[in-house]
């Protein structure tokens, strides 16, 4: 009897897990918890990959969304590919789908609970961005840090940014020039430790 009960519990868990995966994968705009960064190299013609680390519940991350959307239009595919990465356990397939929709984000979201992309980019904060040059089958990180200088610290904010670090970095990377590094630290919400 006890063995049958055990198997019934496992079965229930499996059903829940399957439902979750099905929901997350039902929307082509969300990739759930990749185990490697290979996906970043899957598009032909990409010269520069940009990862934008976001959190649906982080206000500064959200307030930078229009700027990152602007940059994604300014540096269009196929040369530049933007990925929106959600590293916190609070964000799942459902919340990310809703976030992409609510904020009219024209990109694929990546739920990164294993924080594979976080490690790749050395990101610590949302919002933060990383820029990679595609070199054959490899990615070479040339920038990680803030989007712009609107936020100086939590509580110190410019009415509008007047130095656009990420834009300069992408532009330099595309032009094959030395990539300028951020003038200040990223400001926002700490990325929670990876899911065990």
């Amino acid at each position: 009897m006890s063995i049958r009960v055990f198997f019934r519990i496992v079965a229930v868990v499996a059903v829940i897990f399957a439902a979750h995966r099905a929901l997350a994968q039902a929307d082509a705009n969300v990739i759930s918890d990749p185990t490697s960064t290979a996906i970043l190299l899957s598009n032909p013609g990409v010269r520069v990959v940009v990862l934008y680390f976001a959190a649906t519940d982080c206000p500064i991350s959200n307030r930078e969304v229009p700027e990152v959307i602007r940059l994604s239009h300014h540096f269009p595919a196929p040369s530049v590919r933007f990925w929106w990465v959600y590293p916190n356990v609070e964000d799942n397939g459902q919340t990310v789908v809703k976030h992409l929709h609510d904020f009219s984000i024209p990109a694929i979201g990546v739920v990164d609970h294993r924080q594979v992309f976080v490690a790749l980019a050395h990101a610590t904060i949302t919002p933060e961005a990383a820029v990679f040059l595609v070199e054959g089958k490899k990615l070479h990180e040339v920038y990680h840090g803030r989007i712009d200088n609107r936020y100086i610290t939590l509580g110190q904010e410019r009415p509008q940014a007047n130095h656009h670090d990420l834009e300069l970095a992408i532009g330099a990377a595309l032009a094959g020039k030395p990539v300028p590094q951020p003038d200040g630290p990223p400001v926002g919400c700490a990325i929670a430790p990876p899911q065990k």
Binding site: C58, R63, G155
Partner: protein
């Protein structure tokens, strides 16, 4: 009177808490028992025992599901999730939002986190964020999702949703809300419910007494009007702004002190000036304002005063320490109830203080690191008494260098005063309540207004609004000649200003210069189209002057022209009634008075005249009722009190009559007739000695009153003072040889002998 208008200048600006809004409720400076315990056992801080009470007391008012804060802090998981940010913003004192430096103003509801609580949070976070016994944590506070004070008496809604763009700079918008009231209400409390709550950082609710903004933007007022500061037309009577109706996300409900509700009249608009921060996606913003009534009118009338250095604001690009100053001497004793410092993005250090006549310095406020995003109204824990002669001071410094992160210009440019957020302002608003006002003194707010406007004019001599308001204050103080001179100054700047011409006419009329007044009214009518409110007001005042001068037929003609060309109002009907009454057409007059009361049940002219007509018709009951309403409508009319006293006397209510006469005497202490009437009432009450005293007082004021001498004689005769009585009757006959009553009394006295 239609001509005493005041213009209201009030900041429609402000802001509050930015992204990680951890506002507080209630006291915070006191060390909580929990944090005291932690201080004794520094290694054992847990969320359930130590941290939750601090967060519940200081943070969760905004940071709860559905609250204005961007995330909740109600649970252990919440606190752990946001711990790095909590640590950073509490150690930097960005949160909870509180700008005043401690020790420079003793404020209520201080939100500054205590050092002990900051140390506790730091120790807990750096120590691993132990949960403790979560089940033993204090219960999380409960937050109403709708109205904190229960069902409101009236809810106003913004006319149209406002679409806030996804990105860009902050947005300041004035959303106009007409009110549906049919009668005046007094507001004891208010709540504002923006939606979504997280986008609105602060709001100022302004009262547009004349719906002037809506009239100025007839086609698109529903969409709201941009701008940080508004200039509104405050209407015909002296009615200065009186309350800080300032709201921020942690303002659960704004409850006014006892005896100090604010007034909302039919036709007033409420204007919600809101500061919104884009969230990253387009937001559809609406707001509701809930009002809670009290039947009691205000006992105390506060007033808002402003010091400002806007005339000095001409800040060179790169200047990191540009100073402006202002000072204002108080003409009367006041209690300061609250303070609202205001600047835009370049403001840095903001000081306000008072120097008392004794030389003592009292700080009003000192903000050492201004942040427009966290501005607020600050209310004093206890009213701050400042005697007449106290000099209020403000000194603000501005940083227009590239090193100022708040600078909206990159690179910096020269900045002057203005209404846009990238212009600058330097305002120090104070809510004051005049105290120790002598009996029978004029409204002390007029003196404060006069002092304030003179101060503004000392800095900007050609400021039309200040000239107009100064003149209006002087007229309100019955300084009509001075008022007319100030209007003259204003008219030199703008000779075709119909409104100033009309107001000057009223001042001249007050000074007894009727012909000159008439000329100004006619000039105003000539310069304004009749459909313009300036023309209508001038024509109304001209008609009223004609009634006053006994030119009833001409007045009737003017009033009828007004009714055909201008918006119909109660005052015009009651004015026409007065003209018809003067022409001896009592029935027609009564009809107009009744029409006036249909439109405005508190129209004084209609109530008074119908009351007097009823009394004259031998109907003291209806007369008393009408005159009671008249007294309520205009408590400072000594004449109405006297007429009401007369009606009461006819009804045999002598004590009530005496009360009315005493009020009339307080209002018009030089009116002999009031004392004479009082003497008669006292005599009727059997208080012969007091009656005699009042009659003598009346005759001192008006020695030529034959009736008064006759009455005095009668009192003396009843008191057995025959010779003195005889002398009084003879005095009456010297003044009026045909005085029948005095003759009869003298004869009666002779027969008695």
């Amino acid at each position: 009177m239609k001509t005493l208008r005041a213009l209201s200048v009030f900041p429609a600006t402000a802001v509050l808490c930015v992204l990680f809004c951890l506002p507080l409720v209630g006291t915070h400076a006191a060390v909580s028992p929990q944090s005291q315990a932690v201080a004794q056992e520094p290694a054992s801080a847990t969320w359930s025992h130590d941290v939750a009470p601090v967060l519940y007391q200081n943070c969760t008012t905004c940071h709860h599901p559905g609250g204005a804060g961007p995330f909740s802090l109600l649970t252990y998981a919440d606190a752990r999730r946001w711990a790095p940010q909590i640590l950073q913003v509490t150690q930097s004192r960005f949160m909870p939002p509180w700008l005043p430096a401690p020790g420079y103003g003793d404020f209520a509801d201080v939100r500054r986190l205590s050092d002990d609580d900051r140390a506790l949070l730091k120790r807990w976070i750096n120590g691993g964020m132990a949960p403790g016994d979560v089940k033993a944590a204090p219960p999380a506070p409960h937050f109403e999702t709708k109205w904190q004070l229960g069902k409101p008496d009236l809810i106003l809604q913004t006319a149209q949703p406002f679409t806030l763009p996804a990105g860009g700079t902050d947005v300041f918008r004035n959303l106009i809300m007409p009110n549906p009231l049919k009668e005046t209400r007094y507001i004891r409390a208010m709540e504002i419910l923006p939606s979504p709550a997280s986008v609105v950082h602060h709001a100022n609710l302004l009262i547009d007494r004349t719906a002037s903004l809506r009239r100025l933007h007839p086609a698109d007022w529903q969409r709201g009007i941009p701008g940080m500061e508004l200039l509104m037309d405050a209407g015909n009577r002296f009615d200065p702004d009186s309350h800080f109706l300032f709201w921020k996300p942690d303002t659960r409900a704004l409850v006014e002190p006892d005896g100090m509700p604010w007034r909302l009249d039919p036709g007033n608009d409420l204007v919600l000036n809101i500061h919104m921060k884009p969230t990253g996606k387009p937001e559809t913003v609406t707001a509701q304002v809930a009002l809670y009534f009290t039947p009691d009118p205000p006992i105390h009338q506060p007033m808002l005063l402003q010091l400002d250095g806007d005339d000095q604001l001409n800040i060179p690009a790169g200047d990191s320490k540009f100073i402006v100053q202002d000072s204002l001497t108080l003409p009367v004793d006041v209690q300061v109830l609250g303070v609202y410092p205001h600047a835009h993005y370049l403001g840095r250090d903001m000081q306000g203080w008072a120097i008392l006549p004794s030389g003592e310095k009292k700080w009003l406020v000192w903000i050492k690191d201004w942040d427009i995003n966290r501005q607020s109204v600050y209310r004093y824990r206890e009213p701050l008494l400042l005697p007449a002669g106290t000099v209020l001071h403000m000194k603000y410094s501005f940083d227009n260098s590239a090193a100022n992160p708040h600078n909206p210009h990159s690179p910096p440019v020269r900045v002057t005063a203005g209404n846009r957020s990238d212009d600058e302002m330097s305002h120090l608003w104070l809510q004051v309540l005049a105290v120790n006002t002598p009996a029978n003194a004029p409204d002390p707010r007029l003196q404060l207004e006069e002092a304030w406007m003179r101060n503004r004019l000392s800095k900007s001599p050609e400021d039309g609004v200040s000239l107009y308001n100064l003149a209006a204050a002087l007229a309100g103080e019955n300084k009509f000649t001075e008022a007319a001179a100030v209007y003259e100054q204003e008219l030199k700047l703008d000779p075709t200003n119909a409104r100033a011409l009309t107001a000057m006419g009223a001042a001249l009329e007050g000074a007894g210069q009727f012909d000159q007044a008439r000329e100004r009214y006619q000039a105003a009518i000539a310069t304004a189209s009749l459909a313009d409110s300036g023309g209508c007001d001038a024509q109304f005042d001209l008609a009223r002057l004609q009634v006053r001068r006994g030119e009833y037929a001409e007045a009737e003609k003017e009033f009828r022209a007004l009714l055909s060309a201008c918006p119909e109002d109660a005052e015009t009907h009651s004015g026409l009634g007065a003209a018809l009454l003067g022409e001896g057409r009592a029935d027609d007059a009564a009809r107009e008075f009744r029409r006036a009361l249909e439109m405005d049940a508190g129209d004084f002219t209609a109530l008074y005249n119908l009351g007097v007509m009823a009394a004259d018709a031998g109907k003291p009951g209806p007369a008393a009722k009408l005159l009671e309403d008249a007294v309520r409508a205009k408590p400072d009319s000594s004449d109405a009190h006297v007429k009401l006293a007369s009606a009461y006397a006819q009804l045999g209510r002598l004590s009530d009559a005496l009360t009315q006469l005493r009020t009339a005497a307080a209002l018009a202490p030089q009116d002999a007739q009031v004392y004479s009437s009082m003497a008669q009432v006292l005599d009727g009450l059997g208080q012969s000695e007091e009656a005699f005293t009042e009659q003598k007082r009346a005759l001192q004021l008006d020695p030529q009153d034959a009736d008064g001498w006759n009455n005095l004689g009668a009192m003396l005769a009843r008191g057995g003072q025959t010779e003195a009585a005889r002398a009084a009757f003879e005095h009456a006959l010297q003044i009026n040889p045909d005085h029948a009553q005095a003759k009869a009394n003298l004869a009666r006295l002779a027969n008695r002998n």
